[in-house]
Symmetry: C2
Subunit: 226 residues, 2 copies
């Protein structure tokens, strides 16, 4: 399963969960290892044994610190999505500041799209975190799916901003178009990029995040203003 378990020393992806005690160091190592393995191999292909081996900690520590494998996944998912949505909210807030509380559609969409895109292009740790979120969304256990189905708090303000920006559109239309934009975002998986790469015979390069970002926002804005 894992080909290159890192020895000791600083663990990739740890930067966002700085250990504050010896206890927290173990938790952080487990989280970093689990996030990486889940992101790369998928949830059902990673066992607790894989995680603890990769983290260089004891097999029992997952259950000791998190309660269960599912609870571990859930905790990582909540942390990462909270972090991501904070970035999005901040960008939206800034756009509102620039436009008297009524930013145009393009800036609202940029606030929604940019953070996940930048995560995908920044450090390896960030790319891992983003792929983890994307995979957890579709492969996660019941708890994750429950949150997905019912927690829309982070989307509410985006929907409201869009309604304010386009008061002429029926609200129903706004929601659907937001749904389409989210679909575009969630489709940014490794596998889909690979496929696109094959189809385009190497023409598409997802590593050029700035270009991809511009393309996505152009497309989404035009669709939204159809």
């Amino acid at each position: 399963m894992t080909d290159a378990p890192p020895p000791s020393g600083p663990i990739e992806g740890l930067e966002d969960f700085p250990p504050e005690s010896d206890d927290a160091a173990t938790k952080a190592a487990v989280i970093a290892a689990a996030e990486r393995l889940f992101a790369i191999n998928g949830f059902r292909n990673v066992s607790v044994r894989d995680i603890t081996a990769e983290a260089g900690v004891n097999l029992a520590s997952v259950n000791y610190h998190f309660g269960s494998k599912d609870a571990l996944l859930f905790e990582i998912f909540r942390r990462r999505t909270a972090e991501l949505n904070r970035e999005r909210a901040r960008m939206l807030h800034e756009a509102e500041g620039r436009h008297d509380g009524r930013p145009p559609v393009r800036e609202i969409l940029a606030a929604l799209i940019e953070p996940p895109l930048r995560w995908s292009g920044r450090s390896p740790a960030r790319r891992i975190a983003m792929q983890f979120i994307i995979r957890a969304r579709s492969e996660g256990a019941e708890a994750v799916r429950e949150v997905l189905r019912t927690d829309v708090s982070h989307l509410r303000r985006f929907a409201d901003a869009l309604i304010l920006a386009r008061p002429d559109l029926p609200r129903e239309e706004i929601y659907w178009r937001l749904h389409f934009v989210l679909g575009m975002i969630h489709n940014n998986r490794f596998a889909e990029f690979d496929r696109l790469h094959v189809l385009s015979e190497g023409l598409t390069r997802e590593s050029d995040v700035e270009a991809l970002l511009r393309r996505m926002i152009d497309f989404a804005e035009a669709g939204f203003n159809a």
Copy 2:
């Protein structure tokens, strides 16, 4: 796992795999049951025991007829996607016939979007089939992912048609926009619809397939022509 194992009699979803012999009847029952359970509960939450119980056949028959659980999933996936892509190809072919071999962007996108959308809205069996495809795409085993990554034969003619329709656009741009449209399509899952329903406070009704179809094509066309 399964709450209502159907008794004997015609099995839902069987219509597309008409049994041609007694032997094929068992295969068809297994396929129908597996497709339904996978679509509703997800791949990792359905065991071979669940499938054979639901199908009313012997536990061993999955391995006897298909070789393994993974191979069963793979066979259903191949059948269904082949069927779906035949419909898409036919629609594209017809559009080409109407426009001297160079249909406009809107009709090309319609040929891509309409079949999966109509599956989602037609019979319960078709809706199940569509959800199965969507779930298998993200939860499937290695064989499915391998096909996803490398098999682009069904997309090739759509990409070519789009290039022909928009010779002014860089080909790279065409491929990316096609990727965005595919993202919109793949996002039509039960869970996403549920979430949208919560967000819109019941305003969105995915059961109105005609309206959703028009919305999707409008959005995609505008995005493509940005």
